[in-house]
């Protein structure tokens, strides 16, 4: 315990190490926060759920913080649902026992100069035989009334004004997202700020018939991290990428280092055929192509991140590190204290685990810490090669999605840069800590 304290005291002398520790603590914090607030099943639902989950989100919307870089606030999404929102007024006229008329009025403030990305109206009709008939009217803040469209409402009806060519003609060629908000007096295209209304008049022909509706005005920005081409909130992927990346990096680094060390120590201590077998297996394994094997497993067997992780560990167990550790262990084996341990009857296992391995642990800790991000990057590389886990959202998957959807080409920089930033932060944190640990541990080991 006092040793740990001493090491920590020495670490605190290196500002870069403190930075590294802070970054790692932040990443761990994010990972724990994510696992607690968005449980695994919830994350999968949010990432894989389909239109039902992310239908209200805009497509490829920038993160909210891009506001800080522009003069005006960019439009946010507005969602008004007749079932839940108090901003929707529902009135009925006529005899409810016969055909009658329902009016749903959607009222909202629009304080932005930019235009929304898209307008969608979801309607749900309940009827026995005759479909209700709906007509939509748009009322701008300056009092103009624009007829939008009419339609029979089925049990699930979606109306997208942006795709209504008649409406576009009425708006003198502007598409609905622009035409319905544009100030007709202004020279440039600017939206009128103020209170807009959309009135949905529904004629119902049956006593029990009813229509509920939801107005979605998709904004230009969404959430902390924006959305992708399928309207998914990237925050979920960035947050969930953290525990996945940390777990992958830590497990791979620890798993491969510890097993490699144990195997190297066993080989050196037992000598003879055990050592020969280990050395030959290592030499064969070192010339096996690492990435093609992973690609083969990903293509032919499974892309589950945990299977890939196990294969990564398995392939790196008999890696070149065995040779390095062997060289150190051969020196350690000749130490007089090991001879003394044999003289008082220590068993082979005890000598390997209690006398040889603890001797080199301080030496390998810096390398272990530095190797964590390399495994995180490996996971990202695999994802970019299309071998990412098909279920879990990871940073590498985000980069892959962004790349395959031309994010940089189309100017969606946030989509690709955010996972890059997280990867670089991870690399930075572990690398600075590892380098400082190297400086702390190595002067002591010169005497080995």
């Amino acid at each position: 315990m006092s040793r740990l304290k001493r090491i920590f005291q020495q670490i605190s002398r290196y500002p870069s190490a403190m930075l590294g520790l802070a970054v790692i603590a932040l990443l761990l914090g994010i990972a724990i926060y994510t696992m607690v607030t968005i449980p695994y099943s919830e994350a999968i639902r949010l990432w894989r759920g389909g239109e039902a989950v992310w239908g209200e989100y805009p497509r490829t919307a920038k993160p909210v913080w891009t506001d800080w870089l522009t003069r005006d606030r960019l439009p946010r999404s507005i969602v008004l649902d007749s079932r839940t929102s108090p901003a929707v007024e529902k009135t009925a006229q006529g005899d409810p026992e016969a055909s009658h008329r329902q009016t749903l009025t959607f009222t909202f403030d629009y304080p932005y100069e930019g235009f929304p990305q898209e307008l969608v109206i979801f309607m749900e009709g309940s009827y026995a035989e005759r479909r209700p008939h709906a007509s939509l009217t748009w009322i701008t803040p300056d009092g103009r009334e624009i007829r939008m469209g009419e339609m029979a409402v089925r049990s699930a009806e979606t109306y997208r004004p942006g795709q209504d060519s008649r409406l576009q003609r009425r708006l003198r060629g502007d598409s609905a997202e622009i035409g319905l908000f544009r100030d007709p007096e202004a020279e440039t295209r600017t939206a009128i700020k103020g209170t807009y209304q959309m009135v949905l008049d529904v004629d119902l022909f049956e006593p029990e018939a009813d229509v509920e509706a939801k107005l979605v005005v998709h904004g230009q920005v969404h959430g902390l991290a924006g959305t992708d081409h399928r309207r998914r909130d990237l925050t979920v992927a960035l947050l969930w990428g953290t525990p996945v990346a940390l777990a992958f990096g830590l497990l791979a680094a620890l798993g491969s280092t510890l097993t490699t060390m144990i195997i190297a120590a066993t080989g050196v201590w037992m000598g003879g055929w055990v050592d020969s077998v280990i050395q030959r297996v290592t030499e064969v394994n070192m010339i096996l192509p690492f990435l093609p094997i992973l690609i083969m497993i990903g293509t032919l067997y499974t892309r589950s991140i945990w299977v890939i992780l196990s294969v990564v560990i398995l392939l790196s167990i008999f890696g070149s590190a065995i040779k390095t550790y062997r060289a150190i262990f051969i020196q350690v084996r000749e130490s007089p204290y090991i001879e003394a341990a044999r003289a008082y009857g220590a068993s082979n296992g005890r000598i390997i685990f209690k006398y040889m391995i603890p001797r080199i642990i301080p030496m390998i800790i810096p390398g272990l810490v530095v190797s964590i991000p390399t495994f995180v990057f490996l996971e990202a590389s695999l994802a970019i090669l299309g071998l990412g886990d098909p279920v879990l959202p990871t940073w590498g998957k985000l980069i892959d999605d962004a790349r395959s959807n031309g994010a940089l080409f189309q100017g969606y920089y946030y989509w690709m840069l955010q996972p890059f930033f997280m990867l670089m932060l991870t690399g930075l944190g572990f690398a600075t800590l590892g380098f400082a640990l190297d400086r702390i541990f190595n002067p002591r080991l010169r005497g080995l």
Binding site: Y337, E339, Y344, S347, R359
Partner: protein
């Protein structure tokens, strides 16, 4: 026990204790050869590190084995500790041959022998505290956990590492060389062995600490009736506690004698040379050159025929020393020399 003490006392001046039945350790014609390999499998001969060593050690007896570097004394010691397997001959402890013990028997045998090494810092695992170091032999030999603290404390008091609490939590690099060697001795003593093997225990220590450590070993030997095998190349420290001295040369014991007899009347020409070469702080000798035997220690792969010392021997008998190996001659009681001069 009392029988062996009597035998031991006799051995100092008159009788050879080894021939009696009370011997604790009997070594008979012990040979330890290391095979040399060529290209990994071809045989290229053997290094005959120990080649026909015979002696007995009684309970509570202290012997010293002296010889130059590379004469095989460390190999002999490690074979006694059970770290090397004898090629031929046998080591018997309390009448049972060590080579025939199973792994459990070997473990028990090892627990009866304490081992004090040359380099105290190297002999202590640098990542263990003094408490952990002293607990290891107890844990390995299944001493119940509740007894361990008491035994550690007792061992530390015996080697004068007091106050005990100050040392328990320390790591080897925090101790001085003398303190480190005391920890090593405490570790050797903690299983209450009957025999301590000390491999040049003071050669790496300051002159000021040497005498203290030797006195400590001597005191422990007396209070615990310990047998001690003290291995050294420094004759000046031998008289502090050993009763007999064995002189080793090229894998063989060339002279076995009680301390005073050997120091006053050395017989083997090699012993003469060793004594002549030992440090003498007398100022009058500072300018006089000492007579040291010419030549190099012989190759242990192809040792000289006949007496192994004959190529360097000033008293070589032509036609005999180079042809036939000398047996041991007992010129005086208890003083045996393997040299044709004493036939």
């Amino acid at each position: 026990m009392s029988d062996s003490t009597v035998v031991q006392e006799q051995s100092i001046d008159t009788q050879d204790a080894g021939r009696s039945n009370g011997a604790m350790l009997q070594i008979r014609d012990l040979r330890v050869w290391f095979e040399l390999r060529r290209f990994g499998f071809g045989r290229a001969g053997s290094v005959r590190a120990v080649d026909g060593v015979t002696f007995d050690l009684a309970h509570g007896e202290a012997i010293a084995i002296v010889g130059e570097s590379g004469c095989g004394k460390s190999t002999l010691m490690k074979t006694i500790l059970g770290l090397y397997q004898p090629t031929d001959g046998e080591v018997a402890y309390e009448g049972s041959a060590v080579g025939k013990l199973g792994s459990l028997g070997l473990k028990q045998y090892r627990s009866k022998i304490g081992y004090v090494q040359q380099d105290p810092f190297g002999a202590l695992p640098p990542f263990m505290s003094v408490r952990a170091i002293l607990e290891e032999p107890l844990a390995i030999n299944n001493v119940p956990a509740r007894e361990r603290g008491e035994r550690i404390e007792k061992a530390m008091v015996e080697v004068k590492l007091t106050p005990v609490e100050d040392f328990l939590g320390k790591f080897p690099h925090m101790l001085s060389g003398g303190q480190q060697q005391r920890v090593v001795i405490a570790r050797a003593m903690i299983l209450q062995p009957g025999l301590i093997v000390a491999d040049e225990p003071v050669s790496m220590l300051d002159a000021s600490v040497r005498v203290e450590i030797l006195k400590l070993l001597r005191a422990l030997q007396a209070s615990h009736d310990l047998a001690v095998i003290y291995i050294t190349h420094d004759l000046s420290t031998v008289r502090y506690f050993s009763e007999r001295i064995f002189v080793m040369y090229a894998g063989k014991l060339v002279e076995k004698a009680p301390v005073l007899s050997l120091l006053r009347n050395p017989e083997h020409p090699y012993t003469h040379a060793l004594l002549a070469a030992s440090v003498d702080p007398d100022a009058r000798n500072a300018s006089s050159l000492r007579e040291v035997p010419p030549g190099e220690p012989p190759s242990l792969v192809r040792p000289p025929s006949g007496c192994r010392f004959h190529p360097r021997c000033p008293h070589r008998i032509e036609g005999l020393c180079a042809e036939e190996e000398p047996p041991e001659f007992e010129s005086r009681p208890g003083h045996q020399t393997a040299c044709w001069l004493y036939r």
